[in-house]
């Protein structure tokens, strides 16, 4: 009976247990539901803040002042949060509270190092369904999204040589308008500087966010004189180093329409101890003809009247290189400093090679007292003073070797491990574009001088005498060759800076004036992977720019730049915009 009573008394216990279990289960299920909801909200919110930080970082590009940058960032962050986290998502009690902030990172000394950090903090009240039984009606859910963006230090290097022309519609004016449009595409956290160059390179603006000033300086450009590309690139590089933002995207954008034709060096004086003993006649008689329209310089008369070589049908000597010159300096160890240019109004082989120019506005050409007529610089014929062009220029670039290369090149002696223009003859070999609409339709594309033995002395270097093997100062053609070698070498040297990792982009407008175009040169300066066809190559069309061959001097360990080429000056606005997209990642 006792057992029976006990069984009776236990009756209903299962119900209690069941009731307890239900309470426990509901608690567990409730916790699962509430925590699950919070988890869902948190996941969505963190996706939203990430998107907001990324998009907000981009939006800073579209501001023209730091104040609008802040506004843009805030607006964009709010917009992207809203797009990814709808108000009321999972019954959240309100729209998310968004706090977007951004700041510039700084180095150990407190100076900006070129990185912008974007941070978006958002929080939202998540409702509870079961926890409210315990008095918890809502839970605050927060998420933080961060993104960073490399700032920009960009040096715009613009060619203002005479071949750019002047007046409405000229390449010079179109380039200015394209560059001014380019200046509208930067953010107040970018730094843009301006260098222009003719025979002298001018630093007009150090890198800053004063884009109005840069635009005004672009508008004031007038194009004339020669093309001292090397000094301009070097100023740009120095400015990048001065700005001192190693983590920023350090960029040089080089625009040019032709071959460089100025070199800056300490030139050895032409003095008796080392001078070539041969003498030449008066240098400006007879006056040389203009170069325009000559497809081959075989037709140019002997400007030196030195009687060297064969004569043409008119009985005028065609081998007109004037290496036989008077020596006018007295101390053979002296050097002359400045920029030696090809100059205009001269022929390729000797006459009217003028004096030395100032390389930059702060570097002056100097001539030692041991050289007579020193007061006449820069108008005197410089070949009277300079013995030869040294192999290394003032900046440390190789004027004779160019850059290390492997593979095939149209121009250089790649077999010797270098791509250079030392064996190249410019302003020869007239080729016409397969596209009828290219204006002008035909241009000299140059050729190996060894294939034109009857032209001049067929060499850019002295082939005999005390300066044998050195580049000749008396031939304008050689100065272009040295200028191209030096520019490629300068670009290589700039890119080998592993602190600032500069990248060089180039825009090439071909077809201006009589300057020969070179299909490799600016691709090598930019370190672009491929050599593209020029408008004068047979495969060129207006819609495609076929790859001709791989860049023989492509440096895999250096920054790759963009190389853009056009024969249509009105395409420049688009090409500058392409570079803006490249450096700002706006679109592509």
């Amino acid at each position: 009976m006792a057992t029976q009573r006990r069984q009776q008394s236990q009756r209903g216990v299962a119900l209690y247990f069941y009731a307890l279990m239900v309470v426990g289960s509901i608690g567990c299920i409730g916790l699962a539901v509430d925590v699950g909801t919070i988890y869902m909200i948190k996941a969505r919110l963190s996706a939203a803040v990430d998107a907001a930080a990324l998009a907000g970082g981009r939006s800073v590009n579209f501001a023209n002042s730091t104040a609008t940058a802040q506004t843009n960032f805030t607006t964009t962050a709010d917009n992207f949060i809203a797009a990814n986290f709808p108000t009321g998502y999972f019954n959240t009690l309100s729209a998310p509270m968004v706090t977007p902030t951004f700041s510039e990172e700084s180095d150990g000394n407190g100076n900006p190092d070129g990185v912008l950090d974007f941070k978006v903090v958002a929080s939202v009240s998540a409702p509870t369904y079961f926890m409210r039984i315990f008095g918890v009606n809502s839970v605050n859910v927060g998420a933080t999204g961060t993104a960073s963006r490399r700032g920009l230090v960009l040096m715009l290097v613009l060619d203002q040589s005479s071949s750019m022309g002047s007046g409405a519609g000229s390449p010079c004016e179109v380039m200015k308008s394209a560059a001014e449009n380019f200046m509208t595409m930067f953010s107040p956290y970018d730094n843009v500087g301006l260098v222009t160059f003719d025979i002298t390179a001018h630093l007009l603006d150090t890198p800053s966010n004063n884009f109005t000033q840069v635009s005004n300086d672009i508008a004031a450009i007038s194009c004339n004189s020669n093309t001292n590309t090397i000094s301009a690139l070097d100023i740009a590089y120095q400015q990048i180093k001065n700005k001192g933002m190693p983590l920023a995207l350090n960029t040089i954008v080089l625009f040019t329409d032709g071959s460089p034709n100025g070199i800056t060096a300490n030139f050895p004086a032409r003095a008796p101890a080392t001078a070539d003993t041969r003498w030449g006649p008066a240098m400006s008689s007879p006056a040389p003809p203009s170069q325009s329209g000559h497809s081959d310089y075989d037709s140019i008369p002997d400007s030196c009247s030195d009687g060297v070589g064969s004569t043409d049908a008119n009985g005028v000597a065609t081998n007109a290189a004037c290496y036989q010159m008077p020596k006018v300096c007295t101390v053979s160890t002296d050097t002359l400093f400045g920029t030696l240019a090809q100059w205009g109004d001269q022929n390729s082989y000797g006459a009217d090679t003028y004096g030395l120019a100032n390389p930059t506005d702060t570097l002056s050409a100097t001539i030692p007292a041991s050289c007579t007529n020193s007061s006449g610089l820069p108008s005197v014929n410089i070949r009277q003073f300079i013995a030869y062009i040294p192999n290394t220029d003032y900046y440390g670039n190789s004027l004779i070797n160019g850059v290390a290369a492997t593979g095939t090149s149209t121009y250089g002696t790649v077999n010797g491990g270098y791509d250079n223009r030392t064996g190249w003859l410019f302003q020869i070999n007239n080729e016409c574009s397969p596209v009828g609409t290219i204006t002008p339709n035909c241009r000299n594309i140059g050729d190996q001088w060894s294939s034109h033995n009857t032209v001049g002395l067929a060499s850019n270097t002295f082939t005999s005498g005390p300066y044998s093997g050195y580049l000749r100062p008396d031939q304008p053609n050689t100065i272009v060759a040295a200028g191209m070698n030096g520019s490629m070498s300068e670009a290589y040297r700039i890119r080998s800076d592993t602190t600032y990792n500069p990248v060089i982009h180039t825009i090439y407008l071909t077809g201006n004036a009589t300057d020969s175009v070179d299909r490799e040169f600016l691709a090598i300066v930019a370190n672009a992977p491929n050599i593209l066809a020029l408008p004068y190559d047979a495969t060129y069309t207006t819609t495609t720019d076929p790859v001709l061959y791989a860049n023989p001097a492509y440096q895999t360990t250096q920054q790759t730049g963009k190389y853009l080429v056009t024969a249509d000056r009105n395409a420049l606005t688009g090409l500058f915009a392409q570079l803006a997209s490249e450096v700002l990642r706006l679109s592509h």
Binding site: N181, T573, S581
Partner: protein, 242 residues
């Protein structure tokens, strides 16, 4: 002892079948409940996964679009496999090599929409006409409009379409990238009612000139887990705008 045994025996006989009945009654409630829990649980799980795939795809797009030199071209099958593997279990793969199936149970649609401004017009209308820049709607037809700049579809390309619509057939799209010319000039490339489609809570989503948005959408058919047809439309959709 005898009497108790008899009593128990009698009681057992009397209650025989009750357990089965109770079990049956409980099961009527429990089975749909567990099935529902399973379905909802799986749906939530898949929903999170779909949302994460959309988010991952946008991160890939950021890399592919903001750094063209990265070599991450999402129009290539080899790179699409990254997305397919992230969507493992959502019926996107066609075989063990993780190649996307065009007849599978899910799709990821990647779009980039840009508000055409100075940069896009400068890029797309070349050579620039006389007097441009500045650009406006007369010298650059899409100036001020939202247009497609990128579109890649990974997975079932026919069953679902983007809420934004599609770039027109007339547009030239290379590796997913709409040509600069189409962006600036092809009026068919505009995204109809972009601001209201992406905008939420009644406030339109606006961008400033030349600003762009990367949009990744994912649809997944989860009807395999839809017991008792609890979900009337067993398709999960998630979108990430970055």
């Amino acid at each position: 002892m005898q009497s108790r045994r008899e009593h128990s025996y009698r009681r057992d006989r009397k209650e025989r079948g009750n357990t089965l009945l109770e079990f049956g009654l409980v099961m009527i409630v429990l089975v749909p409940m567990f099935a529902g829990m399973f379905t909802v649980g799986m749906a939530v799980n898949k929903g999170i996964q779909v949302s994460n795939v959309a988010r991952d795809a946008v991160v890939l797009m950021v890399t592919a679009i903001e750094n063209p030199n990265s070599g991450l071209d999402l129009s290539q099958t080899q790179n699409q496999r990254i997305v397919v593997r992230a969507a493992n279990g959502l019926g996107m793969a066609s075989d063990t090599s993780y190649d996307p199936s065009t007849t599978g149970l899910s799709v990821v649609i990647l779009s980039k929409v840009v508000m055409v401004g100075n940069t896009e017009c400068s890029l797309g209308i070349t050579p620039a006409p006389t007097g441009a820049p500045p650009w406006n709607a007369s010298n650059c037809p899409n100036y001020g409009s939202y247009v497609f700049a990128y579109r890649v579809v990974i997975g079932n390309t026919t069953r679902w379409t983007s809420v934004l619509g599609n770039p027109p057939n007339s547009a030239t799209i290379t590796n997913g990238v709409v040509s600069a010319d189409d962006i600036a000039s092809n009026t068919g490339d505009r995204v109809a009612s972009f601001t209201t489609t992406i905008g939420t809570g009644g406030s339109p989503f606006t961008m400033t000139s030349s600003q762009y948005a990367l949009i990744s959408e994912m649809y997944a058919d989860v009807s395999a887990f839809n017991f008792f047809r609890i979900m009337s439309n067993p398709v999960i959709y998630a979108r990430q705008v970055s």
